[in-house]
Symmetry: C2
Subunit: 389 residues, 2 copies
């Protein structure tokens, strides 16, 4: 599957949640499959922290690397591009084609750096809605995402429930726990501590790669689980015996160093900071009397909420809280807790289970007569998957 990243620039200003404005705004996006005649097969995939618009396929026949969720998106896969028209766009605030802190500030002719405004998950969704209108789409069949992508999927349902039939929220949360905020903050501090960061002004200088690598290593540990690290690395050494030095002694150390350094080649430190803040700020209950009241305007949008047993970054506890709040509004929600050792990364890796769930969940909407009853707990999923909450 060969795809091209496309871009569109909206020459208007977006009023952000913070009150600041941002514009013009460029959006990088990719599409896969064909839009059907009645426009009922469009799916929006929202990417996570380090993702981008390139969700699947390759950019050329000799492209060595496929998109970040190629296992799940393509002909015959969970998001079957023979059946669905799939859209994925890069979030604003990032660094992979859409407007972010590394973009040129039209008012100065220089990169924004820290003059880029704080953007929230709701701001990202707003720009995705502009793209939706630009593509001439009235309604998504589903909006799906994992982790930060799951936050966007949730925000979509709160902001534009009438523009979507359903949402699939994987390994996400309605708000970060203080432990997750703490881990975010330490990762940011690692970047701030790098003198090359220079208060975000480094685009014509050496970038703060050392700080960014440490930040990414922290993130990487939170994406794995204790179990998966034991299975993958154990206490295996890089050499036969202890070397008694500060060199890489354990395989897990070498892996982290490699992953941290590799990340600096493809990611912008300021974008890392902005995206981490967007997740800290994300809290659907902010300014509401309760989380449940955030969902009070939702009537016909069906939810699939999926969590993973070994995910300690956004644990099942949080998904259950979310599901309770949805049920309090009589919203149609199916909750599945998948047994997995992969930790937070499970949402990317457990594609077989995801394919089954997606097939069953979306088939509700692809039968011609769909009785939308706005009631909870309607499900075609095997009962062993639907956990008690």
């Amino acid at each position: 599957m060969i795809v091209q990243t496309q871009t569109v620039t909206f020459d208007t200003e977006l009023r952000l949640q913070s009150g600041a404005t941002l514009g013009p705004i460029t959006v990088a996006y990719e599409t896969y499959g064909t839009l059907n005649e009645d426009h009922s097969n469009a799916i929006l995939i929202c990417h996570a922290w380090s993702g981008d618009a390139h969700v699947a396929g390759r950019h050329s026949p000799d492209d060595p690397k496929s998109g970040w969720w190629d296992e799940a998106v393509g002909p015959g896969k969970a998001f079957d591009t023979d059946k669905y028209f799939v859209v994925c766009s890069n979030v604003i605030g990032g660094c992979s084609g859409s407007t972010g802190p590394a973009s040129i500030n039209p008012q100065t002719g220089n990169p924004y750096g820290l003059s880029f405004p704080i953007v929230t998950i709701a701001d990202m969704v707003e720009v995705q809605r502009w793209l939706m209108d630009y593509l001439g789409l009235a309604q998504w069949l589903t909006v799906v995402g994992g982790s930060m992508g799951g936050m966007q999927a949730l925000q979509w349902a709160v902001s534009y429930p009438e523009r979507m039939r359903s949402t699939m929220v994987l390994a996400a949360t309605a708000s970060l726990s203080p432990q997750s905020i703490a881990l975010s903050e330490v990762a940011r501090q690692a970047i701030y501590a790098d003198p090359n960061w220079n208060h975000g002004d480094y685009y014509d200088k050496t970038p703060p790669n050392a700080g960014l690598a440490v930040a990414r290593m922290i993130g990487h540990i939170t994406f794995l689980s204790d179990e998966s690290m034991r299975a993958k690395f154990g206490r295996r050494l890089t050499n036969e015996k202890y070397g008694y030095s500060f060199d890489t002694e354990f395989e897990v150390e070498g892996y982290l160093r490699y992953r941290g350094n590799a990340f600096t080649k493809r990611f912008d430190a300021n974008a890392f900071l902005y995206l981490s803040k967007s997740m800290d700020y994300f809290d659907l209950s902010y300014g509401q009397p309760s989380l449940a009241s955030a969902f009070k305007h939702i009537t016909d949008t069906h939810f699939l909420v999926v969590s993973y047993t070994s995910d300690w970054l956004y644990p099942s506890r949080q998904s259950k809280e979310l599901v309770r709040a949805l049920l309090q509004n009589g919203i149609n929600v199916t909750y599945v807790e998948i047994e997995s050792n992969y930790g937070h990364d499970a949402f990317l890796l457990e594609v077989e289970r995801l394919a089954e769930l997606t097939h069953d969940f979306l088939s509700r909407f692809t039968t011609p007569a769909h009785p939308s009853n706005g009631r909870a707990a309607q499900t075609k999923l095997p009962t062993d998957l639907a956990m008690n909450i």
Copy 2:
């Protein structure tokens, strides 16, 4: 209780586990209470990563701060200094009075820096044994420690079982998991990434405080639990509303920044590195066919192993593995899993439960006729405390 830190310098060389040598070696220590006539009431307390010899009391009447475990050590407390003669010494490799990387290398007249050799938990214990001989003690009533202190307590039982009647191992492990090694490594990388670290050569320059603060913040998150952070901070803001900036927005961020910065005023970055490596290397099964075989020479030493339900750094799973290995040798071991929300820090905070356990455990040895039968699971502890493993 007013105490003074004392020092003794051993003018000999220690052959380290790595094969390198270190000497002369200075040891900082404190003692509390009075040694009884038959020398049967001596207790060694081993400190954790950021601890020191000053376990309890104050250094002067107007000293604003008491020792790091003052809640547990003193007249009438868990380690009752009216009954016991308590000793605590600073580990080698640290920065609180005993020889470490900030000490002067007698061969150069300059601080060791990275020319300081890697020291292991067994090396620390060896120096504590020198101190024991120097103090004229034949046998400890018990050797007790939490976290890195618990590793020393375990190592004592492996290296010198005949020199102790019992050991109390709190919130510790026989070897770090790859997740814990990964967290250690990221903390070290944060220090390496600080240009002021300068490969450990900074003692006459600005120290790498930014890197050390980040390293400490990572550690601090691992000492708490998800539950305790929710109870302590939740998502409480420092101001009334979101400020949409990179300033401290959540209380948990402010707390971490404060703790990270405060740590740099009392700790040496190189010592942080050396102590973190000593824990990574600690593995009682290293060079052994199994963990159980590490304990094969132990006959009369009684073990109390305590873990805490919300400790995710050294989880109960690891304590249970340890207990199984002890039981395979027919060693007398009591295992207690304490229900606590405090995470790894619980070993410092759950002092009431600890006082009960200590009282019951040590009373075995303070009755005159003690039948040492070398069999497992002899216990006077309430049965509800002794968990199934």
